[in-house]
């Protein structure tokens, strides 16, 4: 029994890693091209294809369901383009129309399929069910995924050009329309392949989340794609494993939540763009500015008094800074640029530039 569980778990983990990585790679292009929601439309629109494939094949045939989903997804993508270009419907409305009508058609077909035996095979495609992936499905999955990755590797330069500068690519003589269509078809294949695990409703997150997370860490396409693949594979394995252990917990939601956690961590922790790094940069910048302001104030006062070692009253510096200057003064004192001076009848603290401080204030440090 324990052997069975680990056996299933290995199958599921392999499939989830494969799908997560593939979705991460293609999602990177989708996110960079500003077409994130097209992924949502294609995955929802695959439902009539999934059910249609099931109805035509008369049972749970992995290949038939994949083909049906691919046909429906491609038709949905074409419909979006048609509505926009021919009828002049706004892009977001075109996406919404196609998504809801295709899904509605899927619901109608689904109600037909429920009357057939083995309808549970269709149900898993709504929210995904890791356990539904059979070991015999793995070779097909891996084969298709490798083929997709091979196409991307072969057309890497072209896809890169089209994603960042479509007009430039057109001017350079690249077949831009054909390349964009090819990219959309590859995205549709990745979506369709992942439906059994993530489900039609949530597959979009497996495309977007790893790509957005990866984008926070790096600025170049190749590292972003690789990182997105790793993030996708990681979230896939974690999600699939957790849901396989829980009883009757759908896989899609767990995978998506795992990917969302990765995004949240990236948004906070990523160097440069992350919230922490941004906050740190703001503090550093403010401190540098205040340091400059205090040094300038001290130098100004000493020039005014014709005495390089002039002692300025702390309250005066507070006024220049518009806030309490004490923390800035103490940091400067620590650097050895100014010294504290309290003497005579006036017991209030005074500050003067040291020799090094004078150099720093004149910008010669």
């Amino acid at each position: 029994m324990s052997f069975d569980i680990s056996h299933t778990l290995v199958t599921v983990a392999m499939a989830a890693a494969l799908i997560g990585a593939l979705a991460g790679v293609l999602g990177s292009f989708l996110v960079l091209r500003g077409q994130s929601l097209l992924g949502d439309v294609i995955s929802h629109a695959a439902l009539p294809g999934v059910v249609g494939g099931f109805l035509i094949a008369g049972g749970r045939s992995f290949a038939a369901i994949l083909l049906g989903a691919l046909a429906a997804g491609a038709l949905a993508g074409l419909s979006v383009q048609g509505l926009r270009r021919v009828a002049g419907v706004k892009p977001d409305a075109a996406l919404g129309v196609v998504l809801s009508l295709f899904f509605a058609a899927g619901v109608v077909l689904y109600s037909l399929a429920q009357a057939r035996p083995g309808a549970a095979g269709v149900e898993v495609f709504l929210y995904g069910q890791a356990a539904s992936v059979l070991r015999t499905d793995l070779p097909l999955m891996a084969g298709v995924a490798l083929a997709v990755l091979a196409v991307i590797a072969a057309l890497w330069k072209e896809f890169q050009f089209v994603s960042f500068d479509p007009q430039g690519a057109r001017a350079a003589g690249l077949p831009v329309d054909a390349l964009e269509t090819a990219l959309s078809v590859l995205v549709a294949i990745a979506i369709v392949l992942g439906l059994a695990l993530a489900g039609v409703v949530l597959m979009v997150a497996m495309l977007i989340a790893p790509a957005v997370a990866a984008r926070q860490w790096v600025d170049r396409l190749a590292p972003m794609v690789i990182l997105a693949a790793l993030f996708g594979a990681g979230s896939g394995v974690v999600g699939a494993a957790l849901s396989a252990m829980g009883d009757g917990v759908a896989t899609g939601p767990v995978m998506v939540l795992a990917a969302t956690v990765v995004v949240a961590l990236s948004l906070v922790l990523a160097p440069g763009r992350g919230a922490l790094a941004q906050a740190l940069a703001r503090v550093t910048a403010r401190r540098r500015l205040q340091r400059r302001q205090v040094l300038d104030a001290l130098r100004g006062l000493s020039v005014e008094h014709g005495n390089p070692g002039h002692r300025s009253e702390e309250a005066m510096i507070d006024t220049y800074l518009g806030a309490s200057a004490r923390p800035v003064l103490e940091r400067l004192e620590g650097e050895g640029l100014i010294r504290r001076d309290v003497h005579g009848p006036d017991r209030r603290p005074h500050w003067a530039l040291t020799a090094r401080g004078q150099q720093a204030a004149e910008g010669r440090e």
Binding site: S36, A93, V256, T260
Partner: protein, 384 residues
């Protein structure tokens, strides 16, 4: 009357009609404001709201549950907007990140609490309007479906909002800049619109499921937008098309024994197809007519230039006949006759026996066309 209202088909149709009405009213403004996909986010995010509202209040219906769940829908759109404002990701990626996460959490919580919640995750997605009569409420001595009562209240709220704030909504949708200059607070109006959309989605999800509600929200308004440029006409077409879909979808679903809610949503596509074919500006028929008019005009121009270039040449007797038009310009005899008729009608050419020649007006137009052509030819090749 009360017996009629209490029959099962009447209950289903009434519930569907209320969904269609609310969807058309709100959707028209969402589509105009370019927020169609925000409704996608809302309809998914409310699932988390419904579960959380149930955790807190223990109720799955009633104003508290509807209001609480609607907050989640609003939060998804506003949250995505806030995330996009950090400029760490694009607006569409932010939306595609927030609502799947909320939906995933909702589904997971339903999964884990399935025994207590009595909420099937398939129902969330698909709904079943065929079962609305199972849960009823008595109102004014009538036994009405509970979903229809909630939907009725929400529909009245929607209608009230749109009537009261008609000109503010109109201006905020077409020209947000001017609206805020007038002090109309387009941002606030947009937020109220989204909040009402969320509340309506919560009220409708029992009946038609979260995704099918989107069909009623977007497809009829897009139909209206294709067919008319006037806001009130757009709204009227959207409401009409939505109501028609409810009736037609019900009839077809009964006939083919398929999901009633699904069929109603599919039926909204029928109105859209009609609009795509018949729309006055962008429809297929209009495009065909435009293309034909252009082609006829182009043929007439060709005829005028042909006559002008052969007017004083020795081969005039051969070139300026109907036979020459057919032979040299590669027209069919019918096409040639149609062009000749239109030229004669408009006084651009005249007939002397078998010979055709230009009238003064025709010669002037031919001259103008040829000069325009020469000007284009005279330009250096790279600026042409």
């Amino acid at each position: 009357m009360s017996a009629l209202l209490q029959s099962v088909p009447a209950m289903i149709l009434m519930t569907g009609a209320l969904v269609a009405l609310s969807g058309a009213l709100l959707g028209t403004f969402l589509v105009l404001r370019g927020q169609s996909m925000a409704s996608d986010a809302i309809s998914h995010a409310i699932v988390l709201g419904i579960v959380l509202a149930w955790f807190v209040t223990g109720a799955r219906s009633g104003p508290l549950a509807v209001g609480g769940a609607a907050l989640a829908g609003l939060a998804s759109v506003l949250g995505a907007q806030a995330l996009a404002r950090t400029r760490l990701m694009a607006q569409d990626a932010a939306l595609g990140l927030v609502f799947p996460a909320m939906f995933a959490l909702g589904v997971l919580l339903i999964n884990l609490n399935a025994r207590n919640l009595h909420l099937d995750i398939d129902t969330v997605l698909l709904g079943e309007i065929g079962f609305v009569w199972l849960e009823t409420k008595t109102l004014l001595g009538l036994e009405l479906p509970a979903a229809a009562v909630t939907l009725g209240v929400v529909a009245m709220l929607n209608a009230g909002f749109i009537t009261l704030f008609w000109k503010e909504l109109k201006l905020a949708s077409f020209d947000p800049g001017l609206a805020s200059a007038f002090g109309f607070r387009p941002g606030l109006i947009g937020a109220v619109l989204l909040a009402l959309t969320s509340a309506t989605a919560v009220a409708a999800f029992d009946a038609v499921g979260v995704v099918l509600f989107m069909a009623f929200l977007i497809v009829p308004p897009v139909t209206g937008l294709l067919l008319s440029r006037r806001l009130w006409a757009m709204l009227a077409i959207a409401v009409g098309s939505g109501l028609f879909s409810v009736g037609a979808g019900y009839a077809l679903a009964i006939r083919w024994d398929v999901s009633i809610g699904g069929m109603m949503a599919v039926a909204t596509g029928a109105g859209l197809v009609v609009a795509l074919v018949a729309a006055p500006r962008s429809g297929l028929v209009a495009a065909l007519i435009r293309r034909r008019l252009l082609r006829d005009e182009e043929r007439l121009n060709t005829l005028l230039i042909h006559l002008a270039s052969h007017s004083d040449t020795p081969d005039r007797a051969e070139e300026c006949t109907e036979a020459a038009f057919v032979e040299h310009l590669h027209w069919t005899r019918d096409d040639a006759r149609a062009v000749i008729l239109s030229g004669l009608d408009r006084g651009l050419i005249r007939r002397d026996g078998a010979l055709f020649s230009l009238t003064e007006a025709g010669a002037a137009r031919a001259g103008m066309l040829m000069r325009a052509h020469d000007r284009r030819r005279a330009l250096p090749p790279d600026t042409r």
